[in-house]
């Protein structure tokens, strides 16, 4: 009896946890398939005939939503690539070398990360304007990458620390340059960390709002800005269209994480020192 009670408690706890985590996302996705009039209806309608009306409205009323997805993709891929490259190299430096200046730079990097982003935008806006880089993908790519480089570097340092130095030395003995060692020995063994960090950067860049709002207008405008416009403070939000937009917005991220899950979980470094 006691065992049964314990089992029931566990299942209830798990169900509650699932409801807490998945509930809001499920609500958005399901609501996007409802008639707008039924979304907040009372009593709530759990059984309904799905409709794509909200997606059609999104397509017709907010063409900018889909147009800006291209910008979001360019910026997210660019920022992820840049942050991954820089963080991998920096992580290697912090892992394999030491010194006062390196330690100071690590401290500085973390300290800068602690600044609230809105504060950073104040001096940055005139600088970006002066450089003629307002409303360009490059600005967002550099900003997003810079925002994540500190944390990503520390992730990479931890992963590269796990790669035995003997492998570096063996590569050097074989005549490899440092760059070849990095590319052919360290990177394959640290790919799991790189991928984890890259996903963080991608998801952040895909959803980021503040920097995009301040540094873009039209040419590099990203999708979250359009979503914020759908949340209309003048005529009121069209919830169905909003939920359709959010569903489309989260779909690539969910797909990415689902695809990368195997790589994230797999212990790619396992056995690397066993020859």
């Amino acid at each position: 009896m006691l065992k049964l009670l314990s089992h029931a408690t566990k299942i209830s706890g798990m169900a509650l946890f699932m409801l807490w985590s998945v509930g809001p996302v499920l609500f958005i996705v399901v609501s996007s398939l409802k008639q707008p009039i039924d979304i907040f209806a009372y009593p709530p309608q759990f059984l309904f005939t799905p409709t794509f009306e909200n997606y059609v409205s999104l397509w017709n009323s907010w063409p900018a939503f889909f147009e800006t997805m291209g910008n979001s993709l360019i910026v997210s891929i660019g920022a992820t690539a840049l942050a991954s490259a820089v963080s991998f190299l920096a992580g290697y430096a912090y892992s394999r070398f030491s010194g006062t200046w390196l330690a100071a730079s690590a401290f500085y990097m973390i300290a800068i990360r602690l600044l609230p982003p809105i504060v950073v935008t104040l001096p940055l806006f005139p600088v970006v304007d002066f450089l003629g880089m307002s409303d360009t993908h490059a600005t967002l790519i550099v900003l997003y990458a810079a925002f994540w480089v500190s944390l990503f570097t520390m992730i990479m340092k931890t992963f590269i620390d796990e790669v035995p130095r003997e492998l570096d030395e063996a590569a050097f003995v074989d005549g490899a340059t440092r760059f070849q060692t990095l590319w052919r020995v360290i990177l394959p063994l640290a790919v799991q960390g790189t991928l984890a960090g890259a996903i963080f950067v991608f998801v952040f860049s895909w959803n980021e709002y503040l920097f995009a709002l301040i540094f873009t207008t039209n040419a590099a405008k990203t999708t979250p800005l359009v979503i914020s416009e759908v949340m209309d403070a003048i005529y009121g939000t069209d919830w169905g269209v909003l939920f359709a937009g959010v569903t489309v917005q989260i779909a690539p991220v969910v797909a990415l994480v689902a695809c990368a899950q195997r790589l994230l979980i797999a212990g790619l470094t396992a056995g690397s020192v066993k020859g």
Partner: protein, 428 residues
Amino acid sequence: MSKTIMTRRQALATTAAGIGLLAAPAIAQERTLTILSHKVHENVARGAVAGTTGGDIAGEWAAQNGVKLNWITADIDPIHDRLQRELALRQSSIDVALIINKYATPRLSRLLEPLDPWQQRAGIAEFGGIPSKLLDAVRIDGNLFAVPYRHATTGMHYNEALLAERGLSGAPTSIEQFIDYARKLTFTRSDGTKVNGLSVPAGAGPFAVLSLLSAFGAEIYDANLNVKADGPGMVEGLKTMNQLFREGVLPSNYATLSIDEVITSMQLGQSAMSCDPFARFTSHNDPRRSKYPGQIKVAPIPAKGGGFVAMTEIWAFAVPKNAQQKELSWSFVRELSSPANTIRAALNGNGPVRPAAYSDSRLQQNLPYTKEEAIAIANAATLPSTFDASAQASTVFMEESQAAVIGLKTPERAAADMRRRVEALIKR
């Protein structure tokens, strides 16, 4: 290990070249006019919403002048954040901005182009058709720095179906009757829907709440910045609202109620009446979203002792002082502000700043509330923003009025604190 895929130098060069390519300015070479506004302004100026009949006013001007329109849209606060950043630059890329009067402070006005000289040189047709109280909202020290384009004036929305369900009919004609209606309309329907008699977006700003309180004679401060926040009208209004909150007439989440929540609750019959701008009529009766299309009506808010009250917010065209094509900017503003185009924009869903527009038969045919809105705007007041801390004063009003309504403070204490805090902001 002799085979190299890419050298470090090559990798760096490729990265730098890639960034350089992406950094290439995306500015077109043709003459472009950049407008910063809310999406709604683009829609009404371009007739972009299906079913509207005013046509593409801005597009026609652009075609005549060989100009490409670059419309930057965002929500209300982000627009003003962006504008202020742009105004701080040596040269702004914004040619025309639509600003809301609550942010039209002296500090902002100093960074905007004075428009009196432009009006004297190449004036907007029949400029006197725009009421002086709307123009006063965008004047500081007698200097015009923006041209009103859209107004949002509050009214009293009521659901006729719910009124009928409770044995009531027609809009309340006095504030006492309005309160009585709100009480009677607070009930639970047969399907279990709990109906609040009255909703006000108290969490979204001072505008709607102040409209209701002004029915009792409440005022925060007058045009000369004399603070009147602890006047008998404010205290009585807060006492009444506190009573309504305790009775469950106002929703239990009163202090955080957003515009969206009020609209949705009206659409679904979860609120029977609301104080909100007239333009919400369209959302309330939208057949896609409303359970009561055509049954939610709007009327002016009755004032204590007779007459009507309303608050109005104004969106106005402004030209940054650091804009680079001011001739073109003014030409655009002048064209969109003409009497004929004011009516056309109204047909596209704009709140017309020229009262004469309400006499237009096409508008009367399209909008069933033109007569009521004309009455409201004739009685409407604006919240002056003629001191730099006016936005903070609005926040103080919200904090203190919410504290009184939900019972954290007595109405007298909240009103006294409001007066003290607002006075300090004005003196600052």
